[in-house]
């Protein structure tokens, strides 16, 4: 689970072009949106692509994403829950 979270952080930093942010700077519980990372609606859509590309998980409705993308912990839990 910890490995998954670390991988997730690295993937998110790369996919969302978070310059000057290190994986260690992101707390597992920290809100991803509305917080210090400054993520917006395009980033949310990009996270949907990331989950599909890296983990084969489809999110059809962006509204669903809102729940899932609260924090690294919630994304990791979503991946674990839906693992095939």
């Amino acid at each position: 689970m910890e490995e998954l979270k670390d991988n997730l952080k690295a993937a998110i930093i790369e996919a969302l072009n978070l310059e000057d942010v290190n994986a260690a700077d992101i707390d597992n519980d920290e809100p991803l949106f509305g917080g210090g990372l400054g993520l917006d609606s395009i980033d949310a859509l990009e996270l949907i692509v990331l989950l599909e590309k890296n983990y084969g998980l489809k999110i059809e409705n962006p509204e669903e994403g809102r729940e899932i993308f609260q924090s690294i912990n919630t994304i990791a839990a979503f991946i674990e829950r839906n693992k095939k």
């Binding site: 609606s41 395009i42 859509l45 949907i48």
Partner: protein, 382 residues
């Protein structure tokens, strides 16, 4: 100086001239269909594309030296010009608007013979200007979804400063895998034909087509003087908020409408009709309702034409301006199709069925687009 629109053409899945497009809208016919073709997207989706029979009937279709988009432009301009008389080409400017131009030439698997140089919109516009023996280098505007209205305003301005007497304003875009896949990844395409302003709207339906307006200071160019309208005023703005999401407060749209009315010297009560952008995304339609309500246009009859044509991007401002003009002239408003229940927090007076209006002296056309831009133009009946 008084600037007029004297002739026009719409080339869309609904027909190859303005009359057939207007007639289709009046009958409630939509160009939007379910498209099963991996040329555009791996999965089926809803959009509006020209069928083969219409493609073959385009006046430029026999010439293999033009791309499909260029054929649309050439057909549309030829037909619009045929409704004018006495246009002096030496005093005429081509103003072209498009969001993606010949983007299909950039595809890795493009196998056609047309030079990839024509991906550059200026190069494409030069080819079209040359086809019509126009002397002046064309002006090309690319302002996302407001491009068409930007082109109308640009033409008006350049005639006003005396550089030209006439302008051929043409806006066009084709449906391509590029655009469909992009809007799909933004989760912006509706899984049914789009329903502007409706409570259950799910996003846009994309369309393709071309619209052309002949704009001039000389109204005697019109073969049919009953088609004349004045391009009275207009304005453009930016939300300065987000590059892909509309402003939540509608500030930018409010600003352009206020400025357009101010330049026209009229007030909101003078507007008989609004043809709005109405893309059927949750946020766009909501933003428009907030803006129109805030400036006192909540009860003015309003429709969106996206349900007929789909969102034709760089063509939308021109095609929809032309149908706006036809409605003014007919004294009859076309319903915003597939609208059932009000789906915005502020009320709008959506046209639900064919509606006769006694007089339509002034009508407002608005658009908003990616990059946060907004545009408004006021047309005056003459």
């Amino acid at each position: 100086m008084e600037i007029y629109s004297v002739a026009d053409n719409i080339t869309s899945p609904l027909g190859l001239d303005t009359a057939s497009n207007h007639a289709a809208c009046r009958k409630g016919v939509s160009g939007i269909d379910k498209i099963h073709s991996s040329v555009y997207y791996p999965e089926p989706f809803y959009g509006a594309v020209l069928k083969q029979d219409l493609k073959k009937a385009l006046s430029g279709s026999s010439e293999s030296s033009y791309t499909f988009l260029e054929q649309l432009f050439i057909h549309s301009i030829s037909d619009a010009l045929s409704h004018t008389s006495g246009l002096n080409k030496q005093r005429t400017l081509l103003v072209l608007s498009s969001t993606k131009g010949n983007i299909d030439l950039l595809a890795k698997d493009y196998k056609g013979t047309i030079s990839k140089k024509r991906i550059e919109m200026e190069v494409m516009a030069n080819a079209i200007a040359a086809h019509f023996d126009l002397l002046h280098p064309p002006v090309v505007v690319s302002n996302a979804c407001i491009s068409g209205l930007s082109a109308v305003l640009t033409a008006k301005r350049l005639i006003e400063v005396g550089l030209y007497d006439h302008a051929i304003v043409t806006g066009g875009d084709i449906l391509s895998e590029f655009v469909v896949s992009g809007f799909q990844c933004l989760k912006a395409i509706s899984d049914e034909p789009c329903r502007p302003y409706d409570a259950d709207r799910k996003g846009v339906s994309l369309g393709e087509g071309c619209g052309t307006m002949i704009i001039t200071r000389n109204k005697s160019l019109a073969k049919n003087p009953r088609e004349l309208v004045r391009v009275l005023s207009g304005s453009q703005s930016n939300d300065a908020n987000h590059i892909s999401g509309p402003s939540r407060t509608g500030e930018g749209l409010k600003l352009v409408v206020k400025r357009a009315l101010q330049h026209a010297g009229i007030s909101v009560e003078d507007l008989a009709y609004i043809n709005a952008h109405g893309t059927a995304t949750m946020f766009n339609d909501e933003m428009e309702a907030i803006a129109f309500d805030a400036i006192g246009l909540g009860s003015t009859p309003l429709n969106s034409l996206k349900g007929y044509f789909g969102h034709t991007l760089g063509a939308a401002g021109v095609i929809e301006s032309i149908i706006t003009i036809k409605q003014m002239k007919a004294g009859e408003l076309i319903p915003s199709i597939r609208f059932q229940n009000m789906g915005t927090t502020k009320p709008l007076n959506i046209v639900r069925s064919i509606k006769t209006i006694s007089a339509c002296e002034y009508a407002l056309k608005t658009t908003s687009g990616f990059g946060g831009c907004n545009a408004a133009v006021v047309y005056k009946n003459v």
